[in-house]
């Protein structure tokens, strides 16, 4: 469902430029759960941003679900993001003056869905992450784990093909991290394709496949036996 061929990306730094991605080839099938690992500066976040259409590659092909992603206008990129992708961020990125329900409903708002339908659907997803009782609380009234669960519900709301997670457990303690990972694994079990960036080995080992990046090239790409997070919870 995701094909990346010979992807290059460099950033200008002053007069010179920094070559961040030097020919990435990656293919992800439906239902996979892939961890992208690497030290900082390895280009893992850049890769995720390009996959998330937040950034654009200099050269190379990126095909998402048989749709070539190239030279998108801002508007088209926005529509694709909304339709195909769900984002989970390290720092949750909830809108702090909107309550949990409204946060979850936001992608649906940009889909142009009617208010009532939107709220029903958002509540359904909140129930799924076990936070239906917290629907009308503001983010500041929620714990870190709860915030991330709201963010996951938001990512799921538009029913995306691909879930992109950028260090989803980076701001959480171990116990909460495992809790969140258990939840993400459960989503994968239900058939969601998940791509996540992490630098923690134990989190990566909870995925089904690990792609290691170093200095902009893929060093290693191998399937792993999944460690179930639920055993720690």
């Amino acid at each position: 469902m995701l094909e990346i061929k010979n992807l290059h990306k460099s950033y200008p730094i002053g007069d010179s430029s920094l070559h961040v991605l030097k020919g990435i080839n990656l293919s992800v099938k439906e239902g996979e759960m892939v961890a992208i690992m690497g030290s900082s500066g390895s280009g893992k976040s850049t890769l995720l941003n390009i996959i998330g259409m937040l950034d654009e590659a200099d050269s190379g092909d990126y095909i998402l679900d048989e749709l070539p992603i190239k030279n998108l206008t801002e508007k088209k990129a926005a529509v694709y993001r909304n339709k195909f992708l769900g984002f989970i961020f390290q720092s949750f990125n909830l809108i702090n003056y909107k309550n949990a329900l409204e946060n979850v409903a936001l992608p649906l708002y940009y889909q142009g869905m009617k208010r009532k339908q939107r709220q029903e659907k958002a509540l359904f997803h909140l129930e799924k992450v076990g936070l239906a009782d917290w629907a009308h609380h503001l983010p500041k009234e929620l714990s870190g784990g709860q915030k991330q669960r709201v963010a996951i519900a938001r990512a799921l709301a538009a029913n995306p093909k691909l879930l992109l997670a950028d260090e989803p457990t980076g701001a959480l303690d171990t116990a909460t991290s495992h809790e969140i990972m258990a939840f993400i694994q459960q989503l994968n079990d239900e058939g969601k394709t998940i791509l996540m960036v992490t630098h923690e080995e134990d989190i990566a080992s909870m995925c089904k496949r690990i792609v290691r990046l170093k200095d902009g090239v893929i060093m290693e790409d191998k399937p792993v036996t999944q460690v179930r997070a639920s055993q720690y919870v």
Partner: protein
């Protein structure tokens, strides 16, 4: 295209971002509110002043000139300079017949003379007048009536006295009409008491008696002291004044260039000065009001720019979730217009209160300095329209700023 304006969610977003930043939004709105408040307050007061002036001049034919004889300044046709110039009734008739654009010509005789009633007496200014005077200088009668044509025809010994004289010669609450007073030792019946008007050309007159009566008791013959000339509305009173003076000079053997022979007071000229001043003031009002308004709108743009800067990350998140740049821009413009409109409407309402307050303080009674201070509804709508336009334009700046940052950079912002 404007469907989104009727969408509850658009407004939900506006109210959310408003209620989140109450203090900032309120401070922002103060600028515009103050601008429109000033505009409405100033315009209303200017209008009130204008109304007050109009009311002041309302009793008075503004298109009029007063001419009286003085003494010549240039020798002419064998006459030496310094000769006294005496206007006559014949002169006024000629003026009325020959000068173009004249509405009324009203002659008047004037004399300082002793007036006695019972044990009170004094020296007062007595004028012999025609009923036509009422058309030039509207007499506000407190009691009784003004001189009429019958009084003129029958040379009746009747007098219309001013409120001032009434107070000097009569007891408090005493009925003056029907009583007799002695003018120049001749009995006159008081037929009316009038209030002196606010605007007077020449000296204030203490009492009016019929012109013909004046002629007879003071042995005036054909002589008159003053003539008041009123022009038709579409004629230039300055021109009429020049024409009349030239004719009068011709009739009285006075050198055409003699500037001293006749004295005159042109109400039209004075009135023009006042209206010019009022027009200037209105212009100033508009200028100040709109300048303040623009400053206020810029303040809104400024604050929104800061807001957008603060919300960079939020905007990045929204874009990651699928908001198109157009939707982001639209939202910010709607917020800008909404803030300006609410501030503007509040400004109009409070401006109205200020006008009400002004009316209470200065707008009561006959001699009010400000009469009916008000702003036309059209002006209000124009002001609102300008606000919407300015709000949209100023909102575009932060809107473009908001979407000029790539979502990835916006998200990276901490």
């Amino acid at each position: 295209m404007f469907k989104f304006l009727f969408d509850r969610d658009t407004w939900q977003e506006v109210f959310d971002s408003f209620s989140k930043n109450k203090l900032r939004s309120v401070l922002t709105m103060v600028g515009v509110w103050w601008g429109i408040l000033l505009l409405i307050g100033l315009l209303g007061s200017a209008r009130g002043l204008e109304n007050a002036f109009n009311r002041l001049f309302g009793d008075f034919a503004t298109n009029s000139v007063f001419i009286w004889g003085q003494s010549t300044g240039i020798p002419f046709k064998g006459f030496q300079e310094g000769r006294r110039v005496q206007l006559s009734l014949t002169d006024t008739k000629k003026v009325e017949e020959n000068i173009e654009g004249i509405e009324f010509v009203v002659p008047r005789n004037l004399r300082q003379t002793s007036v006695t009633r019972k044990f009170q007496s004094g020296n007062f200014r007595v004028a012999g007048d025609y009923p036509l005077l009422d058309m030039v200088e509207k007499k506000r009668l407190l009691n009784g009536r003004f001189i009429n044509q019958n009084d003129i025809n029958n040379k009746r010994k009747v007098a219309v006295i001013s409120e001032d004289i009434y107070k000097q010669l009569f007891e408090k609450k005493e009925q003056a009409v029907g009583q007799y007073i002695l003018i120049n030792n001749i009995n006159f019946k008081v037929i009316g008491v009038h209030k002196l008007s606010n605007v007077n050309m020449g000296p204030p007159i203490d009492m009016h008696i019929p012109f013909t009566t004046f002629q007879q008791i003071f042995n005036q013959g054909d002589k008159i002291g003053w003539v008041m000339i009123t022009g038709k509305p579409d004629y230039d009173i300055v021109q009429i004044e020049q024409d009349s003076k030239l004719l009068l000079k011709n009739l009285n053997n006075i050198h055409p260039d003699d500037k001293r022979a006749f004295g005159s007071a042109n109400a039209g000229k004075e009135f023009g000065k006042v209206t010019g001043f009022l027009t200037g003031m209105q212009f100033l009002t508009w200028f100040v009001g709109i300048a303040t308004l623009i400053a206020g709108v810029f303040a809104i743009g400024n604050i929104l720019l800061i807001t957008v800067r603060e919300r960079t990350k939020e905007i990045g998140v929204r874009r990651a979730l699928g908001a198109t740049p157009f939707e982001i821009k639209r939202q910010i413009v709607v917020e800008a217009v909404f803030l300006t409109l609410v501030a503007g409407i509040l400004g109009i309402i409070t401006g109205g209160w200020i006008l009400i307050l002004l009316d209470h303080l200065f707008g009561q009674g006959d001699d009010a300095a400000i009469v009916n201070a008000s702003v036309s509804i059209l002006v209000v709508f124009i002001a609102l329209f300008i606000l919407v336009v300015l709000g949209t334009l100023i909102g575009l700046i932060p809107a473009f700023k908001a979407t000029s940052v790539k979502p990835i950079e916006a998200l990276r912002e901490e």
